[in-house]
């Protein structure tokens, strides 16, 4: 079993009367990619900034690579790469100068050109930061995070505001880092991103963890709820009608056993020469699962 790079136990944080984190616990193994997923205001940034050492916790235990991040220990900073939610670098330096400046702070370094190539900015190496697009600045952020060849990377919504192409590029970069054996902890509110990148997902809503697991297992949880939809104005067989939700000619059917239910439905239709118009069978996407879970959490969360 791999060593845990990040351990969080009963982490609590309040801003005045608002409890941003109400006792969350999770672990990230060395070399694992874990995503913290949740709606805006769920406590994602608070969590990641406590791990990075920018914010103090009110309670609980936190360890990153064996260090308490609140101590601001340099031994930890030496091994940690950070991408903050907003870019913050001097606008008058060039890409290459910025990467070099940050590389110098770390005892272990990756090559400047290598880092710039990794994020696909080699054409912009001598361009000043002020002339980069938003997406390019974000990639520079990732380059800075890699400059010290970190063991653990914290990425706070690394692709927010990216166009689809840039997003795909960034994902490839992050995937590549995972391939190098880096431990990566990222926050996101995009399901596609998490599904593509993460080994494991921790879903947080209103300051509490509401679900945790691999993307596959989270989807599996809700397998019960396969949805069958079609349009039919006439009568339906008894077995179908009992479970269906009919709105005009639109019929919706939620089932735990789609094989059986579809067989009943289609065999009935074929025998009676009925065409089921617009027949759709949908398994819930991770997006649906996530919305379902966070909605439940937000309605019951106040009393949880």
């Amino acid at each position: 079993m791999a060593v845990d790079a990040v351990e969080v136990e009963d982490l609590r944080k309040s801003y005045g009367p608002v409890e941003a984190l109400r006792g969350i616990s999770f672990k990230v193994a060395e070399g694992e990619v874990v995503a913290l997923l949740g709606p805006n205001g769920a406590g994602k940034t608070t969590t990641v900034e406590i791990l990075e050492g920018f914010r103090r916790r009110d309670g609980g235990r936190v360890s990153v690579l064996g260090f308490d991040p609140a101590s601001g220990d340099r031994g930890l900073k030496d091994q940690m790469g950070i991408v903050l939610q907003t870019t913050g670098v001097d606008p008058y330096l060039t890409v290459a100068e910025t990467v070099d400046m940050f590389r110098g702070y770390y005892p272990r370094r990756r090559g400047r050109d290598e880092v710039i190539r990794l994020v696909g900015l080699e054409d912009k190496a001598t361009t000043r930061v002020t002339r980069l697009s938003g997406g390019q600045k974000r990639r520079l952020d990732v380059a800075i995070a890699l400059a010290g060849d970190p063991r653990v990377l914290f990425l706070d919504e690394p692709t927010t505001g990216f166009d689809p192409g840039a997003k795909r590029n960034a994902w490839d970069v992050i995937k590549g880092l995972a391939g190098l054996g880096k431990t990566i902890f990222l926050t996101s509110h995009s399901m596609d991103e998490v599904q593509f990148l993460a080994d494991r997902v921790v879903i947080i809503a209103a300051g509490k963890i509401v679900a945790e697991g691999t993307p596959e297992s989270l989807m599996g949880r809700q397998q019960a709820d396969t949805m069958i939809r079609f349009r039919h104005a006439g009568t339906l067989p008894e077995a179908v009608r009992a479970q269906a939700h009919v709105d005009g000619d639109a019929v919706e059917l939620v089932t735990k056993d789609p094989t059986q239910k579809l067989y009943e439905l289609t065999s009935w239709a074929v025998q009676n020469g009925v065409t089921l118009e617009g027949l759709q069978v949908t398994r819930p996407s991770l997006e649906d699962v996530y919305l379902e879970i966070t909605r439940k959490a937000e309605t019951t969360g106040a009393t949880a």
């Binding site: 920018f54 340099r74 030496d78 950070i82 913050g88 001097d90 606008p91 008058y92 400046m101 702070y105």
Partner: protein, 257 residues
């Protein structure tokens, strides 16, 4: 050892960004020299007694006075405004998340400002020597240099400290100029004070600007003795230490929102 190297390396990067920023260049380097020319042209023809038995043309008076202003401008004003800008940008937060020691970063900011201040003082002195025959002090040069260094350090500390009350980068020039401009007018810098009236004298002497100006002007024109104005330096140091302690307690690496 490596950290000291990092600190000096940081000065180099700060300077690189500084020389590429036209506004910073203008306000730090050109602005004080503009004041020197304008003041000497407008008010330069009168005479003023700068030390017991020493009367000089006002144009000459402005050489050390604007040298003092240059130091205040390069250290207090420049540090406060540029730190606030970096803070708003998130650049300070980014640096704070890296292993660069806090002291190394602050040292670099201050060392760069002090270097700019020294350059400006040399330019002012050369200007005075060239156009007004205001010869550089030789016997009092150590006192003049010490005053310069103490002043640069004190106003740098105050520049860091004042960022605590600057809400955001847009407000920085207002807060900085609002605190320093009135003092520059009543502290023997912009306007020579031969016999300051009571309240101006009292108020001016509470703050470090007047003491700095008096010490700079005094050591520049004094013909005998060391020229050291120790009492003025003590008041400045008190302000500097106060600013330093306040700065350490209140300094913020993240935007104040």
């Amino acid at each position: 050892m490596r950290d000291l190297e990092l600190a000096f390396r940081q000065v180099w990067y700060i300077n690189k960004a500084f020389v590429r920023n036209p506004a910073a260049l203008f306000f730090t380097l050109i602005f004080p020299l503009m004041f020197l020319v304008i003041f000497t042209v407008i008010f330069g023809n009168g005479h003023i007694q700068v030390a017991p038995g020493t009367t000089v043309r006002v144009a000459t008076f402005y050489v050390p006075a604007i040298a003092a202003f240059s130091v205040i401008n390069a250290c207090y004003t420049n540090i406060a405004i540029s730190l606030s800008a970096s803070r708003d940008l998130g650049a300070l937060k980014r640096i704070h998340g890296s292993p660069l020691p806090v002291w190394a970063y602050m040292f670099a900011r201050i060392a760069h400002a002090v270097a700019m201040a020294i350059v400006l003082v040399v330019v002012c002195a050369a200007f005075g020597a060239l156009f007004y025959g205001a010869t550089l002090p030789t016997s009092t040069l150590p006192a003049f240099a010490l005053t310069l260094v103490v002043g640069a350090a004190v106003f740098s500390a105050l520049g860091v400290a004042v960022t605590a009350v600057i809400p955001n980068a847009d407000a920085a020039p207002a807060v900085v100029n609002g605190t320093i401009l009135p003092l520059l007018f009543i502290s023997n810098v912009f306007i020579p004070l031969e016999n300051p009236s009571g309240w101006i004298d009292v108020v001016g002497k509470i703050f470090p600007v007047r003491h700095f100006a008096d010490a700079m002007i005094g050591s520049f024109f004094q013909v005998s003795g060391s020229g050291l104005h120790a009492n003025d330096l003590y008041v400045m140091l008190a302000w500097g230490i106060g600013g330093l302690l306040f700065g350490i307690r209140t300094f913020r690496w993240e935007p104040r929102t």
